[in-house]
């Protein structure tokens, strides 16, 4: 977090800061317009004056006066106190991909190390989105693909929502890779609140960003708006689980409109949460069976070399008996009963699993089933 020096008046510039302040100021009005089904997609493309006139209603004079008196230094110091860096669209470090949008955010507020954010943007980026109420299958796929892509040096972009989004971030973090979370509120807040530990992890080893200034509360209209940022930042958007009318499909549509690749993980044709993803595949989205399919989509067949061929150094250093146990977990012996029934005694199995879990090589899911993560 780089507090901005008071002596640099141009970056972030006053007009960009004022633009993002205005959107946050009118957030409630946008919400009303959005709820009334007038749609918000076009709204963010309006210029400042048009925005005030079309949205402020009877508060027009008040908002216009506040707009004239806008104090950009207040926003700057607010950013500094909440550890947020503001990158305005005139800034060279502003992600160029966002200019593909008809309504690019005027300012990106970045919580987390700015240098790391720049590295994350400079790398190849894949967006992963999906259902909040995901199944264990969806969560496993999201984690596995997130981990594989991050291990191959890609940046995983998602929205930190419950379910698939969070699992994708966790996968990337587990591989010690880079990940960017795009929020629908100020980037210093953890939304949803139950993901505050994840928020802290991403801030510490990735970046949490938003187009809304610190302190802006969450509004419903802001979710599709943040989805457009996710779609624009990434070269490809992978949908992991989505129902028939899922918000993830909006992101996929936005990605397609921007000319980005769209891909989806298939599910059972009878599963409600696979209806959206299977439909995407039927419409021509790339079918994804694992991280290698995403890499192939982006870089062609040669890309498979990107996946680390040498095993994880954590696995190489394992004691022989732990390694054997890990292999058996990977081979489908996933419960203590199954592992203990073939000779090894329960004590040794329990102790071994605890050690593997502590080293992050296995994780315990519902039903006490272990899965290998390396």
């Amino acid at each position: 977090m780089t507090p901005l020096a008071a002596g640099t008046p141009t970056r972030p510039c006053r007009s960009c800061l004022r633009r993002s302040w205005l959107i946050a100021r009118l957030s409630g009005h946008i919400e009303l317009a959005w709820s009334a089904r007038r749609g918000s997609a076009g709204l963010l493309a309006l210029d400042d004056q048009a925005l005030i006139v079309s949205l402020a209603g009877d508060r027009l004079a008040v908002v216009a006066a506040e707009y004239e008196r806008f104090d950009d230094d207040a926003t700057r110091s607010r950013c500094a106190t909440s550890g947020v860096t503001a990158l305005c669209s005139c800034d060279a470090r502003y992600p160029v991909q966002l200019h593909d949008l008809p309504d690019p955010p005027a300012v990106l507020y970045v919580r987390g190390d700015l240098g790391r954010f720049e590295r994350a943007i400079a790398a190849d980026r894949v967006a992963m989105v999906g259902a909040r109420r995901a199944t264990e299958y969806g969560l496993q796929q999201a984690r596995g693909i997130g981990r594989g892509l991050a291990a191959a040096g890609l940046t995983v972009v998602s929205g930190m929502a419950l379910g698939v989004d969070a699992a994708a971030h966790v996968g990337a973090l587990d591989a010690r890779g880079l990940t960017i979370a795009v929020l629908a509120c100020g980037p210093e807040q953890a939304y949803p609140a139950s993901k505050r530990h994840l928020h802290a992890r991403i801030v510490a080893s990735g970046a949490v960003i938003s187009e809304l200034p610190p302190g802006t509360p969450v509004r419903r209209w802001a979710f599709p708006a943040r989805n457009r940022i996710i779609a624009a930042l990434a070269q490809a958007t992978v949908v992991v689980e989505a129902g028939e009318r899922s918000g993830s499909l909006i992101t996929a549509g936005q990605a397609a409109d921007l000319g980005r690749e769209v891909a989806a993980v298939p599910g059972l044709v009878t599963a409600p949460l696979a209806a959206g993803t299977n439909a995407l595949i039927a419409d021509g989205a790339q079918l994804i069976r694992g991280p290698h399919d995403v890499l192939e989509l982006l870089f062609g067949a040669a890309a498979l070399t990107l996946l680390p061929a040498t095993p994880d150094e954590r696995v190489v250093g394992l004691e022989p008996d732990l390694r054997a146990l890990l292999e058996r977990v990977g081979g489908g012996c996933d419960t203590v009963a199954a592992l203990a029934s073939s000779g090894t005694d329960v004590d040794a199995v329990l102790a071994g699993l605890a050690q593997l879990e502590l080293r992050g090589l296995v994780r315990r899911g519902p039903g006490g089933r272990y899965t290998a993560t390396a």
Binding site: A131, R132, R133, A134, T135, E136, L139, L162, G163, A166, A167, V170, L173, D174, R176, S194, K195, R196, H197, L198, A200, R201, A204, S205, T335, V336, A337, A338, A340, S341, V346, D347, A348, L350, A351, G352, L353, A354, Q355, E357, L358, R359, G360, R363, R364, G365, P366, G367, G368, R369
Partner: protein, 509 residues
């Protein structure tokens, strides 16, 4: 003329001496009972009058006042009938006053003068011995129960005339035989671990729970065998000592449930339904009565479908688990009910019950999170062991038995002996009761074990309380292995027996 008879009131499950004083003097014929008596005791006047007349005694047509002392103790139930009648007979010169110094009297009267059996005779007998009374007169059906108490002369009587004859120097009936316990039947009936197949993890957890007195949560889909496993825990515990058996028998005698008068032989197993009220679970009501937690004293309290219990009920369990007793305050009195039990709770892994099993789970992360929230909190903080019960595979079902209850019990007994030797001179007996100070004194970890535990703690998967629980369980695992030192393997096993799922939000190591 004045007569005084010793009897006993039951306060919670504790006997309290009560002196029934009967005064008869000239005046208009009345019969008053004073001294904080409840409705059943006030009704005693009618029963006493009829019983005296039907036993061919004379009911004095004078001013009769009976006082139950001490006046500040609430007297509950019909057990004072016999003492009131005897006091009245003695005060009117129809039986000997002197014998009342030797004998305490306890029993309910019927209108015919028969002495009816009533609840809590064992508690009364214990109270009589403690109060230094030489003998106790009780209904004949309950004499065997009273005879369980050593050093007390017990006379079982049939009716009021029998009591009067005894007090007037008549022949004391032959001492009753202590009510028989039937250990053989109890042991045969107890389900055995030899019937269990393919449950290696929960079996290990049951053994550790039995050895260290740890509370246990079993999580698994419907039909995976959670209840079956929980029912096998009492047979793994050491046999009741005589003092414990008397205490258990007394609780059941006072409550008048499932009780033949004999000494309890097996440890109680209570499985209240999840609709139980807080008062039903921990005791309460008016007059205050013991709840399931007390009925499970020295045994096992099994809460099936833990997430279905109401929050107030589960909250109410905190004190009994923590303190080993429930204190119920009603008006000016505070009643204590003992509640030292091992808690076994069972729950489905998710609302539909099939998360992580072969059948597809239909719950989303939302429902799972809500389910987990219902289970979290203060009660879970007091459960040392959390294990998953999976449906055993068909192959495992055909396997030979892996162990038997008796084999496990021998290891449990040895581990318990190690604990009592180590904890001699402290107020606690099992590892589950170790507080932070005792843990520091009795669990010394090697450098690797300490580092591993610190790593688990730093990863955020372990709370401060969870840290202590791991140490307690590790201590028991070492005790089961007959070792003084707690080793790395013990700590690792304890860790594996704690968390349910890897915590994604934990900060990576």
């Amino acid at each position: 003329m004045l007569a005084r008879v010793v009897t006993f009131a039951i306060d919670g499950i504790d006997p309290r001496p009560v002196w029934v004083e009967v005064d008869i003097r000239p005046g208009l014929p009345t019969f008053r009972v004073v001294g904080l008596a409840d409705a059943a005791v006030r009704e005693a006047r009618e029963r006493v009058r009829a019983a005296i007349l039907n036993s061919d005694f004379e009911f004095p047509a004078r001013r009769i006042t009976a006082n139950l002392a001490p006046a500040d103790l609430r007297k509950i139930g019909p057990g004072f009938d016999a003492a009131l009648a005897v006091g009245l007979l003695a005060a009117s010169g129809q039986c000997s006053v002197d014998a009342l110094d030797r004998w305490a009297v306890f029993g309910e009267l019927s209108l015919t003068g028969t002495v009816r059996p009533c609840r809590g005779v064992l508690a009364v007998a214990e109270g009589a011995r403690r109060a230094g009374v030489a003998g106790l007169v009780v209904p004949r059906e309950r004499a065997g129960e009273a005879a369980l108490v050593d050093g007390l002369e017990v006379a079982g009587v049939d009716d009021l005339r029998g009591i009067a004859a005894l007090l007037n120097g008549g022949e004391v009936p032959p001492p009753p035989v202590p009510a028989p316990a039937s250990p053989a039947a109890a042991v045969q009936d107890a389900p055995d671990l030899a019937d269990v197949r393919g449950h290696e993890l929960p079996l290990r957890a049951l053994e550790i729970a039995a050895a260290g007195g740890h509370n246990l949560l079993l999580e698994g889909p419907p039909g995976s065998g959670k209840t079956m496993l929980a029912r096998r825990l009492p047979a793994l515990l050491p046999s009741l000592t005589r003092a414990e058996a008397l205490e258990v028998t007394r609780i059941y005698s006072v409550a008048g449930i499932g009780h033949s008068g004999g000494l309890a032989v097996s440890r109680p197993f209570r499985a209240p339904h999840h609709t139980v009220s807080p008062a039903g679970l921990v005791g309460g009501g008016r007059p205050p009565a013991a709840g399931e937690a007390t009925f499970a004293h020295h045994g096992v309290l099994f809460l099936d479908e833990l997430s279905e219990f109401s929050r107030p009920s589960l909250e109410a369990l905190r004190q009994p688990i923590e303190d080993g007793e429930v204190v119920i305050v009603r008006g000016q009195q505070a009643l204590r009910f003992p509640t030292r039990f091992t808690l076994v709770a069972a729950t489905n892994p998710c609302p539909c019950g099939f998360a992580g099993s072969e059948r597809a789970c239909r719950c989303g992360e939302h429902e799972l999170a809500r389910h987990r929230r219902r289970l979290s909190g203060p009660l879970l903080d007091r459960i040392d062991l959390l294990v998953t019960v999976a449906r055993p595979s068909a192959v495992a079902l055909a396997d030979p038995p892996t162990t038997s209850s008796e084999a496990v019990r021998q290891r449990v007994l040895a581990a318990r002996e190690r604990q009592s030797a180590r904890l001699a001179g402290t107020a606690v007996h099992t590892n589950a009761q170790l507080d932070a100070r005792l843990l520091r004194a009795h669990v010394q970890l090697g450098a690797t074990a300490r580092r591993t535990l610190a790593q688990a703690y730093d990863r955020g998967g372990l709370s401060a309380r969870g840290h202590d629980r791991v140490l307690r369980v590790a201590r028991t695992i070492a005790d089961l292995a007959d070792r003084d030192a707690v080793e790395l393997g013990d700590v690792l096993q304890a860790l594996a027996l704690r968390t349910r799922e890897t915590n994604d939000d934990a900060v990576a190591a």
